[in-house]
């Protein structure tokens, strides 16, 4: 167990008098390369860069004070939905029964890499945040669910902490299930409990009855890494980057037509064009952007480029930062063909539980394929099916697919006309967005 603030040499952490937090690092990046270190940060590098984490006092007053600090920081979830972290913690804290914390590093979105990169480069920041979250809600157990690609690194980081006797909370690392919906919070809990990585119905909420029937706090791993820094340097430090209504930084995965695809950390509210510049940009050739994820929203490049990359900034476009994905569609690619491939992929990733999703998504994908191929597309049916599928699953999977397809029809409307006349701007076989190989296509 860590003793307190990094420069605190006293034996016991001070009780009620909260010391002023140490000055945090200025500017960015915050998460990815502590003190300019490249690559993987082991425990020694992590401690040298950030110091020991403070502990949350194990009494209700101390826990509430910590949650209030997180609330003041304005930290929101980085898994896609952007829910305020403090509200989630307070909901779990208000329940009776011993809570459990789940750090969600499943990253089921096939094009997103930010959680894997974070877990590979700064696992201790995530583990710190997980322990802090557990202390804050009074959990005696926390599970870090990791994408298989980084499982070994995170397990090694946990072993390193054990050897250094820095393992306060009962922490364990579990391999995540693969698949698009496996990362949905209730699917993660279902995976841990029953080995079934598919969403469950609400109610009950996970905060009421989740893993082992206990109040469960599920947080994305990036959210927890931010939490680890808020605990060290305070809400004011966290708010020193980004706009006041949505402070902080976030990790983005850039892909598609950018020069250097990859994971970058940017301030929330940075203009979309600046976000792309982090990856080398290539604005002149940009046609459209897919924002948020494969459940996200297509936007026209011209109308998006100078907007802030934030919830408020993208809302007028019907988009959101989601899980931080920004995919750039170059001028010589076909947005309809790309969307048809994504729609078929999303259809294949249905958990298979709810009829409208099971039957509706393949039907929608078939219409898009017909549209992209310029053969026998029925717009009336597509529009009708989108309405019939929207909001009718136990989880938001069908809604995400609907959002994606509707935005494609809006942004690529000229393409829709062109395809109706049998023409497509893209050379045959041109593919930009990666989609995992599908098994038996339904």
């Amino acid at each position: 167990m860590s003793s307190g603030w990094p420069d605190d040499t006293a034996e016991a952490p001070p009780r009620r008098t909260v010391p002023a937090p140490p000055a945090g690092p200025v500017g960015l990046p915050r998460l990815l390369s502590p003190a300019g270190l490249p690559g993987h940060a082991g425990l020694a590098e992590h401690l040298a860069a950030h110091g020991h984490r403070p502990a949350v006092p194990a009494e209700q007053g101390g826990r509430l004070a910590f949650v209030e600090e997180v609330d003041r920081a304005g930290l929101r979830g980085r898994g896609g939905a952007g829910f305020p972290t403090a509200l989630k913690m307070a909901a779990v804290l208000a329940e009776r029964g011993r809570p459990v914390v789940v750090a969600n590093g499943t990253e089921g979105e096939p094009a997103s890499a930010k959680d894997k990169v974070l877990l590979a480069k700064a696992p201790h920041l995530v583990l710190d945040g997980t322990e802090l979250a557990a202390e804050a809600v009074g959990a005696d157990e926390a599970v870090v669910v990791c994408h298989p690609a980084v499982l070994g690194l995170v397990q090694a980081a946990l072993d390193e902490r054990r050897r250094a006797r820095l393992d306060g909370v009962g922490l364990r690392v579990v391999e995540a299930a693969e698949g698009f919906v496996a990362g949905e919070a209730s699917a993660v809990v279902n995976w841990l409990r029953r080995g079934r990585p598919i969403p469950t119905r609400t109610p009950p909420r996970l905060s009421e009855r989740g893993l082992y029937g206990r109040p469960t706090l599920v947080q994305n791993v990036e959210t927890l890494a931010h939490l680890a820094l808020v605990a060290r340097f305070g809400a004011d430090w966290y708010r020193s980057v980004g706009p006041p209504e949505e402070p902080g930084s976030l990790l983005v995965t850039l892909l598609g037509g950018v020069e250097r695809p990859g994971v970058y950390e940017v301030a929330v509210g940075t203009t979309v064009s600046s976000v792309l510049e982090a990856g080398g940009g290539s604005a002149p050739t940009a046609q459209a952007l897919l924002l948020g994820g494969y459940f996200g929203t297509w936007v026209d490049y011209g109308s998006a480029s100078e907007r802030p990359f934030s919830r408020a900034g993208l809302a007028p476009l019907g988009a959101s930062p989601g899980a931080g994905l920004v995919a750039m569609l170059p001028a010589d690619a076909c947005g309809l063909a790309e969307t048809a491939r994504l729609a078929r992929y999303l259809a294949s990733q249905s958990a298979g539980q709810c009829g409208p999703c099971v039957f509706g998504l393949p039907a929608i994908a078939s219409q898009l394929e017909a549209l992209a191929a310029g053969e026998g597309f029925r717009r009336d049916l597509l529009v009708r099916w989108l309405a019939q599928v929207d909001g009718r699953g136990a989880c938001a999977h069908p809604d995400g697919a609907v959002r994606l397809v509707r935005s494609a029809l809006r942004v690529f409307r000229e393409e829709v006309e062109r395809h109706a006349r049998g023409r497509c701007i893209a050379p045959p076989g041109r593919r930009v967005l990666p989609v995992p190989a599908l098994g038996a296509v339904p």
């Binding site: 119905r201 709810c354 009829g355 509706g360 009336d380 909001g391 009718r392």
Partner: protein, 86 residues
């Protein structure tokens, strides 16, 4: 005694689209193109409550229920997008 207002809810995981509810309650339950019910999320009129209860009992998958109308409508309640004629 005033009776509480109730509305219909479909559990989308339990439901497998047998369609009995739509046959019994055509005014309150529509079907999508694959035969899955789209229910009205408005409170059920008191005069129709007995029929609605009968439909709830008739559902072979126990997927249809009546819940207090004041309960917030969740996206997964099966009726958010309202029956659409097309």
């Amino acid at each position: 005694m005033t009776r509480r207002l109730l509305r219909l809810r479909v559990d989308p995981i339990l439901c497998d689209g047998r369609g009995l509810c739509a046959a019994l309650l055509p005014e309150l339950v529509g079907l999508d193109d694959w035969g899955f019910p789209i229910v009205s999320v408005e409170p059920v009129a008191p005069a129709r409550l007995d029929e609605a209860r009968a439909a709830v009992r008739a559902c072979p998958k126990l997927a249809l229920s009546l819940v207090p109308a004041e309960l917030a409508v969740r996206r997964s309640d099966g009726g958010v997008s309202r029956p659409r004629p097309g």
